[in-house]
């Protein structure tokens, strides 16, 4: 059951300093691209921000703000990207994003949830993935001649999105093969990673998926789970440990590729036309991918946490490896966007569950930023980012990192 009271310290500590809304100085570049919170940028009211949402959580906790469907929809406009959290934690010991998630959980558990979120759980209950694809069709894209290594203790986690666009997973398979990495696919037992449900506040529904996948890995003797999707990667790192599921190690395909390049086990064609790209850091691959370490304890006077608490401040996300890989591909030039790494602007995909207009505006802003950086193509490693950034009225081409790598392998 949800317990907003666990985040009372955060709620009572907020001074409304505004750090959660604006880019940190080491990334600043000018007037443009200075905001980090998509909903604050879109709606303008302070309620739509990390600060505002923890204020709302406090009023809900204290019984001063009524739980309503409208409130739930408002809370779900936040994509849960965590920029506010990283910014706040650059100077403070507060759990802004955790509080937002707990608020969603509270609202969901009291029956307040946008229909789009509710449908995801209903789909899962009905044997489909959250987006409605039946489990039987989850691997329908798999080539018939695919042969896995049955002895491998590495699983390539395809993710739900492969059913819509298998290219990234197929590319990852090509990279692993080229690099001589034995792997398996969990064609029978793989389910949604659970991130979408967990983030929308439907923790119990998410837990069933988490338990299922972890159990499947355990039974199959999987020690390493390779992900192509940033969302899945972040889920394994930051959600699974909440349920004690820490037996396996998760690795993103960019990390494997970077390692293979370093070892000289991947080589690239040099005859392809040059390409100017920018790397879009998916939130769940970047700042939200730090391993979650549970903490139970007492917060004493002046913020002393007993026992000492491990803080995820967004510092150790997967930022370097995708950039190293892009730098190693002949003909590919990377232009950095202002808001990058821990300060990356979210694609806005998950806002769309509650407010498609906000989601479109958020994605459009990111495309504008990519264009301002001088990129022809946006490279990313999250199917949700790819979908969001490919929409809109004036999109740039968006390419999955694995697809780009595989397409340029010698």
């Amino acid at each position: 059951m949800s317990d907003l009271n666990r985040f009372r310290y955060t709620m009572e500590s907020c001074n409304h300093c505004g750090q959660c809304k604006w880019i940190l100085p080491h990334r600043m570049s000018g007037w443009d691209f200075a905001e980090v919170c998509p909903i604050h940028s879109h709606f303008g009211f302070d309620a739509y921000s990390g600060q505002g949402l923890i204020n709302i959580a406090r009023e809900v906790m204290e019984g001063r703000l009524e739980r309503t469907d409208e409130l739930a929809a408002m809370v779900q406009t936040c994509a849960g990207c965590g920029a506010c959290d990283v910014n706040c934690k650059s100077v403070r010991d507060m759990e802004v994003l955790e509080t937002i998630f707990e608020l969603r959980r509270d609202l969901a558990e009291t029956g307040h949830l946008p229909d789009a979120c509710r449908r995801m759980a209903e789909n899962v209950s009905a044997g489909r993935d959250p987006f409605g694809v039946p489990q039987a069709e989850r691997f329908s894209w798999l080539p018939e001649d695919f042969r896995e290594d049955p002895e491998a203790d590495v699983a390539l986690f395809a993710g739900c999105s492969a059913a819509r666009d298998p290219a990234p997973v197929l590319a990852a398979m090509k990279i692993l093969k080229a690099g001589g990495v034995p792997f398996r696919l969990m064609t029978e037992d793989e389910r949604c990673c659970g991130a979408a449900l967990w983030r929308s506040g439907q923790q119990s529904a998410a837990e069933k998926l988490v338990r299922h996948n972890a159990d499947a890995f355990h039974r199959a003797g999987i020690r390493t789970v390779v992900t192509v999707c940033g969302e899945c990667f972040g889920a394994f790192r930051s959600i699974y440990p909440r349920f004690g599921e820490t037996e396996f190690r998760s690795v993103h395909i960019s990390q494997i590729a970077a390692d293979l390049i370093l070892q000289g086990r991947l080589s690239f064609r040099r005859d392809l036309p040059p390409l100017t790209v920018t790397w879009h850091d998916p939130c769940m691959l970047g700042r939200l991918s730090e391993e979650y370490v549970p903490w139970e304890g007492e917060i004493r006077s002046y913020g002393l946490h007993v026992p000492e608490k491990h803080w995820n401040r967004g510092e150790f996300g997967v930022y370097r490896e995708p950039r190293d890989v892009l730098a190693a591909i002949p003909g590919v030039e990377t232009r950095e966007m202002t808001r990058r790494m821990e300060e990356a602007w979210c694609c806005g995909y998950w806002s769309g569950l509650a407010d498609p207009e906000c989601a479109a505006a958020t994605a459009g802003e990111r495309v504008r930023e990519a264009r301002a950086a001088g990129a022809e193509v946006v490279v990313t490693s999250c199917p949700f980012c790819k979908t969001a950034l490919s929409g809109g009225t004036d999109p740039l081409p968006v390419v999955d990192l694995a697809v780009l790598i595989a397409g340029r392998l010698a």
């Binding site: 300093c17 604006w22 007037w31 703000l65």
Partner: protein, 503 residues
């Protein structure tokens, strides 16, 4: 009490339906209790987001017509940013966020209230320019910071406090008129703050700001200075361990420890007379210790060591035009430090400062002072000569131990900052302390500490702060300051006839 529907609709016509709300959850975003104050901020009845000065003027006129109070706000975080009475709306300037002009030739920038430091600073820095701003975070409003509130700049030693840099102003008066001050009022542009004759600049801001009591400032120009230090800085790392390097052989930071504030003062004055250094400051070491640690736990682990290591640090940043000049400045610096008894601290600490000396590194880290639960207060935020402020620093020991030794507040005897300005002609002071908000008596202790501080200053007739307050409300201190509360009340009343100075 909610806003009457007719008023809401009138306001909605001005700003559009997207830019007004009276939904409870929207209002909640601007009414939550903050840890400095033991009561909730009062809820506004609605929040409006105007997009232009004309819209602000129209909103003010509607409010005046219907007897609705209003509070202008941008960043929050200060008590004047919230509704304090019933029947109040918030006018939030999120949408008025344009940098209207950066005039390199005439060295000013014109901004609307929604422009944040993190937006303007890099824009002017690209042009080799800089500006002074009080120590708020990167998301602080430039306009509010410089035109509406008090506050001092960490690197103001070679320049001055922000109030010196406020130029032309456009404001909406309480009667809903658009008043322009300085050269602007004569149609001569933004460059000069002073009127031709008795200067209306005087009503915009004094030592402290007037927080919108005379009108809502909707545009202002601020003067720009040369950017001291390297024109471009290299940044590295990921927050919270990001760094801004000062890759410039002209730029160096030195940190010295002193045992007496009077010696620190002598050093400040001697350096100022020689016009050596871009930054000179006696920093408060509690915030410094917080800035140098990554969590409250790490702070508590290292706090004892910090306060023993540098109880009275003098930070000096040299940023001259050439290596030869830096060497010249170093000679003077070391002579002065030798004469005044300073001891240089380890290079490691200096390097930390070099990596954080950029104004924005300081201010974005400074909010670490909120890390110990958020209950904090800066007091004695006044300005005077270096000599006088050193005397005030010395007098703190007369009252602080009653509070720190008993755990009523958290502070340390030498934990205050003195930042000279205008090469030591005068300086600003700040004593920053914290309290444990989980202690039910803490707010009382905080108030008692403030009172003890004030009584000590009055005993010495020390000018540790300016006197605020209008009319009868400011009487307690105002009568000791040439009855300034009466004059302030009269001025406010003349611009806001609804204000009663005798109330």
């Amino acid at each position: 009490m909610s806003l009457p529907k007719a008023v809401y609709e009138e306001l909605e016509k001005v700003v559009g339906s997207r830019n007004i709300s009276d939904k409870e959850y929207v209002l909640a975003g601007n009414r939550a209790q903050t840890p400095e104050i033991p009561v909730r901020h009062r809820s506004a009845d609605a929040i409006v987001l105007p997009g232009s000065t004309e819209e602000v003027a129209e909103i003010v006129r509607i409010c005046r017509r219907h007897g609705v109070r209003y509070v202008g706000t941008v960043s929050g975080g200060i008590p004047t940013a919230y509704a304090t009475e019933e029947n109040t709306i918030l006018i939030h300037f999120k949408r008025m966020n344009r940098i209207l002009e950066i005039n390199e030739k005439d060295r000013y920038a014109v901004v609307e209230p929604g422009v944040r430091h993190v937006q303007l600073y890099p824009e002017v820095r690209k042009r080799g320019l800089s500006y002074t701003a009080a120590a708020v975070g990167p998301g602080g409003s430039v306009l509010v910071n410089i035109a509406c509130t008090g506050g001092d700049h960490h690197n103001q030693y070679g320049s001055s406090r922000p109030t010196r840099y406020l130029l032309g102003v456009e404001m909406v008066t309480p009667e809903g008129e658009i008043l322009r001050t300085g050269s602007l009022e004569a149609g001569a542009g933004w460059f000069c703050p002073e009127s031709a004759g008795p200067s209306l600049r005087g009503i915009v801001k004094g030592y402290s700001g007037n927080a919108g009591h005379i009108g809502i400032v909707t545009k202002c120009a601020i003067a720009l200075d040369r950017c001291k230090g390297p024109a471009a800085t290299r940044t590295e790392g990921v927050s919270p361990h990001s760094r801004i390097y000062m890759d410039d052989e002209c730029s160096r930071v030195y940190v010295f420890n002193y045992s007496s504030i009077q010696d620190v003062g002598r050093a400040m004055l001697a350096l100022g007379e020689s016009e050596v250094g871009a930054t000179v400051q006696k920093y408060f070491y509690l915030p410094l210790s917080l800035m140098m640690t990554s969590s409250a736990n790490e702070f508590w682990e290292k706090w004892d060591g910090f306060r023993k290591a540098f109880p009275m640090p003098l930070v000096v940043h040299l940023a001259p035009h050439s290596v030869r000049e830096r060497e010249y400045e170093e000679k003077i610096l070391f002579d002065v430090v030798r004469e005044t008894g300073g001891v240089r601290l380890p290079r490691e600490l200096e390097r930390w400062w070099e990596e954080h000396m950029d104004y924005f590194m300081i201010v974005s880290r400074l909010q670490s002072v909120l890390r110990l639960g958020g209950s904090w207060l800066p007091i004695k935020t006044g300005g005077e000569s270096v000599r006088h402020l050193c005397d005030i620093g010395d007098s703190i020991r007369e009252f602080i131990h009653d509070f720190t030794d008993t755990g009523k507040i958290f502070d340390a005897p030498q934990n205050y900052q003195i930042i000279p300005m205008e090469y030591g002609h005068f300086a600003s002071f700040e004593l920053l302390f914290m309290w444990d908000r989980t202690d039910p008596n803490s707010f009382r202790y905080m108030q008692e500490f403030c009172a003890a501080s004030r009584e000590t200053d009055l005993k010495h007739h020390a000018h540790s702060m300016t006197a605020g307050g209008y009319g009868r409300a400011g009487e307690a201190l105002g009568r000791l300051y040439c009855d300034c509360h009466l004059w302030a009340g009269r001025i406010r009343h003349s611009f806001d006839p609804d204000f009663d100075p005798d109330a």
